[in-house]
Symmetry: C2
Subunit: 453 residues, 2 copies
């Protein structure tokens, strides 16, 4: 497809190109255009009919958008802006450098500009920042027929018309009717008689992650947003809610892998930015591992007589780390899905304790059998009596540390949430580092007691 388009551009077969593009979906066109050499873009873009052109523009990444805006004449820029919905315009301005943003604002009329500036002022993670100000509002005294007239009048410039919100004179949100309700009701019925007053809404300052959760819970297509005085100011549409869900998950996964979150896609992030996102946690975790070195150094004198025990350190640390991250990952996900709350902490601990005892016992027994049967009889090169007691020390350590790992893994994320931290930061890398030190101390402690080192 890309090749075909490039060829048509090179041969200046613009009519054919226009035909080809008009059959494609805007999101697909945007994806192809992003991969073409930038200098061809303005030419191709001018070939597109006005309405799909705006849709294609919205779907592009911000670098490409900026390039195009800089290539546009003022008239062209105004034409694209006229076709955009308010929330998309705000998103685009938000991503642009100040000079480009100013140029965009200059091309809009005073009323729009005032609205844009108001939307830009909402905090980054708020419902206000993702809402659109174009929606269908009805009054309670209207009839079904009058409502359809209103939808026909203002519907053209509105992204989602299927849920209409009913407000009073001072724009307070009173209820909603769906276009389905309207279609299935007699023409002269009053809106106040068919509207549902039990309406789910958000306020402008609500966290957008919370708002996205409402879409999931109540199977919504749009959600009205009110200001602090309960006046309707906008709506959020389900496509934006899905974007929020994906963003938050990418952010959680980044944090769980000890990376500072970034909102750009993999190839759009420069090497330096990727490096900057990764090095802080790597450094912090490396320096915290100093404890493990210190613990081993402390036991050094004694270790030389039981050097065989050193061979099991990586296995113990690895298993304990895995056991801990299983619990922390499960709990972090359960917290973000709303399944686990702070008040559930004892229920969680009790459940993880039982699971960890089962895991600890199975792991120790399997490990003991492996050590005795395979390593000892097949590869024997030790004093048998000593070897069995060493194996017991290793297995006892495994069992105790796996239990501790699962408990630490479930408790830390819940506490993190409680004190206002993101639970995802308590994921495997951090917990593993904490557990490394704990398991070493337990290992050497058990060694000291049982082998009287």
């Amino acid at each position: 497809m890309e090749k075909e388009i490039m060829e048509l551009v090179a041969e200046k077969k613009y009519t054919k190109l226009r035909e080809l593009l008009s059959e494609m979906n805007p999101a697909d066109i945007a994806q192809i255009l992003e991969e073409l050499p930038k200098k061809e873009l303005p030419v191709i873009f001018r070939i597109l009919p006005k309405e799909p052109a705006a849709e294609v523009f919205v779907e592009m990444d911000s670098d490409t958008q900026q390039y195009l805006i800089e290539a546009f004449s003022d008239a062209e820029l105004r034409e694209v802006l006229d076709e955009l919905f308010m929330d998309d315009t705000v998103d685009i301005i938000d991503e642009m450098p100040a000079t480009v943003a100013k140029r965009i604002l200059k091309q809009t009329d005073a009323a729009t500009r005032r609205m844009i500036n108001k939307l830009l002022a909402y905090p980054e993670d708020s419902a206000g920042s993702i809402m659109t100000t174009e929606y269908i509002d009805l009054k309670g005294h209207m009839t079904v027929e009058e409502s359809f007239d209103r939808i026909r009048t203002i519907g053209f410039d509105t992204e989602m018309i299927y849920e209409c919100y009913v407000t009073d004179k001072s724009r307070h949100l009173k209820g909603y009717v769906t276009v389905k309700d309207l279609l299935l009701s007699p023409k002269n019925k009053k809106i106040s008689d068919i509207m549902d007053e039990n309406v789910i809404f958000a306020t402008t300052l609500d966290d957008k992650e919370l708002v996205a959760g409402q879409f999931e819970k109540y199977d919504l297509v749009t959600l009205p947003v009110v200001d602090t005085e309960n006046r309707l100011v906008g709506i959020i549409t389900v496509d934006d809610a899905i974007d929020v869900i994906q963003e938050e998950i990418s952010e959680d996964m980044d944090k769980m892998a000890a990376i500072l979150p970034s909102d750009k896609s993999y190839f759009k992030t420069s090497v330096i930015s990727t490096f900057k996102a990764r090095i802080p946690w790597l450094l912090l975790l490396m320096l915290s591992a100093t404890f493990t070195s210190a613990i081993i150094s402390g036991f050094e004198g004694k270790l030389s007589s039981y050097i065989a025990l050193v061979a099991f350190i990586p296995m113990i640390m690895g298993t304990v780390g895995n056991a801990g991250s299983q619990s922390s990952a499960t709990i972090i996900r359960a917290i973000s899905l709303g399944d686990v709350k702070f008040r559930d902490i004892f229920k969680v601990i009790w459940k993880e304790f039982r699971v960890s005892v089962l895991c600890g016992i199975v792991l120790s027994v399997v490990n003991f059998i492996k050590l005795i049967l395979i390593d000892h009889f097949l590869l024997d090169n030790f004093d048998a009596g000593l070897y069995i007691s060493e194996s017991l020390v290793v297995c006892l350590t495994l069992c105790v540390t796996v239990i501790i790992a699962k408990l630490v893994g479930c408790i830390l994320p819940i506490f993190a949430k409680k004190i206002g931290f993101d639970p995802a930061v308590m994921a495997s890398p951090l917990i593993t580092t904490v557990l490394d030190s704990i398991s070493l101390i337990i290992y050497f402690g058990i060694t000291a007691v049982f082998l009287s080192v």
Copy 2:
């Protein structure tokens, strides 16, 4: 809220209870009912008006649904089933034990039963398994007015009426019109003149994860599903697409934390199921750690003269593991978002290589400074000359292994995807275990060369 409801039930104040419940959203009612003692449920459920009752029923978890179905009389069961949309009925039957499923099927008429059995036959992860068979279909020759009549006739039993699909005589999908298009067009206009022929669709056997991706990419509210002969057989609605997105993410996170995926929420999973989901990977990873023990045992004789080097093993392994999981987590997420494909492998390797060189150098330098300045001068208890060469060995190992870790971390998930494995399985725990052995070999190798052990 729960308390209030329990009190009203205990005092048998059913009128007041009915009033209270009628003001609440079905999803909220379901959540409260699930937490009440099960024996109270049938009573409360019978109080609810018919339509919200069915909605509440759909929102409940399958254990509660089963309890209610068993408590229902045949007439009551039929009443609830009559109110359900086809896809919800199928989901419920899918979760029930065979005897309960049979009882449900017995209460439906022959045509519905045939349809349900057909839907149940679609593979678990297919588009067919999440579609609903209730949609608005129009013909090209209809006028806008006739279309509205059709919507009024069949719309009541249809979940989503806002995208109508145009089919020919043999039900082949030809295009779509939105209710918005219909509302904004003159009454006598023909559907074939206003319909958009460029319609995004899925086929029944498409992977549901792929289908959910289409919703995101094209900002859809519904997506039509056709059979292998391009005949329209159903639609998928955005709320089901969101559920698929969340399910797939929970599954990915489980795999990334070395847990066998489960589709139940945290507290709904029994201790035994949780244990069974976690133990296989723990065992496998523990047994693979045998390699690290073998490597250390192999060097044992030589180690006793450089016992200080042992103290750095956990730090090196930890840092290398973190570096590797940063890359693998980033790449796994990029693959699932469609940002990285197999053909990008060299671009990915080149980018990760540059990032890893930067990380490797910074980590080594910081570590060297820390070893020399802090550990050496503050806690000095070694021969200084030897200590510097030991520090250099540690730092060189760090640098080399971090680079390898990042390359392994980015290559394995891409190859897993290529050979049809889920890339998420290649996440930190597995990669860490592989990297543990690699870093030990490199560490001892470098030690042998530079310190001539």
